[in-house]
């Protein structure tokens, strides 16, 4: 048995002993712990699981031991993740500090920044939020306008960030700001770490068309940020951000499998339109559902093909560039089809007369609209395919 195998055996044993059974079920909406200075637990099991993983250094298993991490190399981290997935362990906590800004600080941060921010982040003491998007900088992120004017002590920040998840509970924000108005778009941007308790910050939660959300808009009115909180070079924030967004993609793909599966198309339509032997009674609807299930099927197959191509060291870009568009559009159409199949019963907002599943279908329908907007809109995806895959001219 090699060393990695021994490690795996140990991890499995430890997880089985320390991860409470209730933490080995898919988390419901809002059932994951957001770490930070004001962490809240919904159950004793949640708290136990959180503290045990924290004390093991496994919030950030790949970070150095002296920075509060688990000190594991990539191969060992993968073993830990694989075993957690296999045993259905929930992540003990969620923190953008660990997934996104942490790795960037490890790469670009000053020693002081590493010492100041990484150990408490790894121990769940600092909750982070991300300040990138602005009301007038969506698909065109580099057009952001939030200004940071330098003075002797650091920066004075004015402007607004939007779509900031959990900003109302976060301790720090890593933010892109415009530090040079004269430079070309991408060249005048810096990344700052901003204490959310600074005077001049106002956080306003955003209501979505589907109801309450974890998104916020954050307003900055002459907020002071010390010079030592600049990450990377002055005006070099765009490069740092691009690196950070790579981590985001990795993190997203990890979390994609996490969520409790929503209402499923076939089940919902079948219950709404029950025919004989479990079939969908309405032939037109059945044809439509079959078409959508097939779209979901080919995209799962394509996902599998991409994984195999990557393993075989083939260029995956041609295939991979299609996934976001395909998934978003299929998911939106499936949600529309569920609502249509439920009829008015799929269009309730709250209270009596609607089942939890029906209300969930409605919420999912509305939420699904964001799939083709957030994280690179469908239009951007098509542009990328046209230009970078097909090589069509400007």
């Amino acid at each position: 048995m090699d060393e990695l195998q021994i490690f795996r055996t140990g991890v499995t044993a430890w997880l089985e002993a320390n991860c409470p059974p209730s933490m080995r079920t898919p988390p419901g909406d809002g059932e994951l712990v957001m770490s930070g200075s004001q962490v809240e637990f919904q159950s004793e099991d949640q708290r136990l699981w959180y503290e045990r993983m924290r004390d093991k250094g496994w919030f950030a298993p790949g970070w150095p031991l002296d920075l509060g991490g688990g000190g594991l190399d990539a191969a060992h981290v993968r073993v830990l993740e694989t075993e957690m997935t296999r045993l259905h362990c929930r992540p003990p906590q969620i923190n953008l500090g660990i997934w996104m800004i942490g790795p960037v600080l490890l790469e670009f941060g000053t020693d002081e920044q590493k010492q100041t921010f990484l150990p408490p982040t790894a121990r769940g003491k600092i909750g982070w939020c991300q300040g990138f998007s602005e009301p007038n900088a969506g698909s065109d992120l580099a057009s952001l306008k939030m200004s940071a004017v330098q003075d002797e002590a650091g920066f004075v920040v004015n402007g607004s960030k939007i779509w900031t998840s959990h900003a109302n509970h976060a301790d720090y924000m890593y933010a892109l700001v415009r530090s040079d108005n004269q430079a070309a778009k991408q060249q005048g941007i810096s990344m700052l770490l901003i204490d959310m308790k600074s005077p001049g910050i106002e956080v306003r939660p955003i209501d979505l068309i589907s109801g309450k959300s974890h998104f916020c808009q954050v307003f900055f009115d002459n907020v002071r940020v010390p010079a030592k909180n600049l990450v990377g070079a002055l005006h070099g924030g765009w490069g740092v951000a691009k690196r950070l967004l790579q981590h985001e993609r990795t993190a997203m793909s990890k979390f994609a499998e996490l969520n409790m599966p929503g209402p499923d198309l076939v089940g919902v339509v079948r219950r709404a339109c029950a025919g004989s032997e479990g079939r969908i009674a309405n032939a037109v609807l059945r044809d439509k559902v079959a078409g959508l299930e097939m779209e979901a099927h080919v995209q799962r197959l394509t996902q599998q093909r991409i994984v195999e191509m990557a393993k075989a060291r083939q260029d995956v870009f041609r295939a991979a560039a299609t996934m976001k568009y395909q998934m978003a559009e299929t998911e939106k159409r499936s949600a529309e089809t569920m609502v249509a199949a439920l009829g008015l019963q799929g269009l309730g907002w709250e209270s009596e007369g609607f089942s939890p599943e029906e209300l969930e279908v409605t919420r999912q329908w509305l939420n699904a609209k964001s799939l083709s907007i957030a994280g690179g809109s469908s239009e951007i995806q098509l542009n990328i395919i046209a230009k970078r895959v097909l090589g069509l001219p400007e």
């Binding site: 779509w163 037109v284 529309e336 008015l344 609607f354 083709s372």
Partner: protein
């Protein structure tokens, strides 16, 4: 001119446009929603509409109406739709009022129409028992009893059902569910013993109620038309309401489209207005095509009502189906083209999206009406 408003109708449309924009814009619906208003509409607004004569438009002069036709009423519906104005117009005039006018005896008309016209009485049509519109599926029963009928059953989705004082109830005096034979229509006092109403909170805040009828006794005079022969009357009533609803949907789609085109011109990304991107231009153009076709369908159907055309059923299904498709397209594109801001409750686009889906389902969705259209055309 079958497909145009005449000058009086156009005047009415202009008046309605200004009226709703001023007195019942989307902000008014938002307020009703956020305050969880019990009524779900503003009685003072309805009073103003009464004063403008809009409750009287389609009814005969003999009973105090204006006999101005459904095309005029359609003009009002379109503008109400454009502003998401909460009014009892659909339940009271297009559904209930049409039923009394088309199915009532002179005496029944004299009994109920003046109250509707004067704003003293609100009506609703209690028909749908399932989440998908299907009149022939009616299970609710009415059997002879007392000095009239005893009604028993449950209606799941009754537009304006919670605020109406009188309900036009569709019940089965004969036949079996699935057949349109044996249906009868009754006017029932909402306060009758055995009637229990529960408000349903829809995604679009439209007034909707579930109503349970527990051995509700009504007099023989409550029957509209012939017992067991209600299907034809019901169809005539529904087609009028479907066309009015289609006109309302045209207003919703028009607002969404205009707002989106304006946004395309104003929103800057990558240093240019996003409306300069040809891919979005073509999608906007497709919406325009759908909207022009939709307007033709609505105008033709409204005219067919007023001309008592035998084409009405097909045109009503055409209008309802086409508007449902157009609205699905336009509402989805509106959200998508507005990007992130389109996902927020703060922007009105979301309100229109939600209203759109409820309208699509009400009185039969596109699939229902495609099927009906095919049947009517014999294929």
């Amino acid at each position: 001119m079958a497909m145009l408003f005449d000058s009086e109708q156009q005047l009415l449309a202009d008046t309605a446009r200004d009226f709703f924009a001023q007195h019942a814009p989307p902000a008014a619906l938002r307020k009703l929603r956020d305050s969880k208003d019990e009524l779900g509409y503003a009685p003072e607004l309805w009073r103003q509409m009464i004063d403008l004569g809009w409750s009287a438009i389609v009814f005969p002069e003999a009973h105090g109406g204006l006999d101005f036709g459904y095309k005029g009423l359609g003009a009002v519906f379109e503008q109400a739709g454009r502003n998401l104005s909460a009014t009892p117009l659909l339940g009271t005039v297009a559904l209930g009022g049409s039923a009394v006018m088309l199915g009532g005896t002179e005496a029944q008309q004299a009994q109920w129409l003046p109250g509707i016209i004067a704003g003293e009485s609100l009506f609703a049509l209690a028909l749908d028992e399932n989440p998908r519109h299907d009149p022939s599926a009616t299970v609710m029963s009415a059997h002879a009893g007392g000095d009239g009928y005893i009604l028993d059953g449950e209606k799941s989705f009754v537009v304006d059902g919670g605020i109406a004082d009188r309900l036009v109830v569709v019940a089965r005096t004969a036949g079996t569910p699935g057949s349109s034979d044996g249906l009868s229509l009754f006017v029932v006092e909402a306060g009758s013993p055995g009637v229990r109403r529960q408000r349903r909170n829809m995604v679009d805040s439209r007034n909707m109620a579930a109503i349970r009828f527990d051995q509700v006794a009504v007099p023989a005079a409550a029957l509209l038309g012939q017992a067991g022969q209600g299907a034809a009357l019901l169809d005539a009533v529904l087609d009028r309401a479907r066309v009015c609803l289609a006109a309302e949907m045209l207003g919703v789609a028009g607002w969404l489209f205009d707002t989106t085109v304006a946004y395309l011109k104003e929103r800057i990304q990558f240093d240019v207005a996003i409306g300069s991107f040809q891919a979005l231009q073509h999608r906007a153009a497709l919406m325009h095509v759908a909207l022009e076709m939709s307007r033709s369908a609505v105008l033709a159907a409204l005219t067919a009502i007023d001309e008592n055309s035998p084409q009405l059923p097909a045109l009503a299904s055409l209008a309802k189906a086409k508007l449902s498709e157009t609205l699905e397209l336009v509402s989805n594109e509106a959200v998508q083209m507005h990007g992130g801001i389109g996902m927020t409750d703060e922007l009105d686009v979301g309100l229109y999206l939600k209203r759109a889906r409820v309208q699509q389902q009400l009185l039969g969705d596109a699939s229902f009406h495609r099927d009906r259209y095919a049947s009517l055309l014999g294929f």
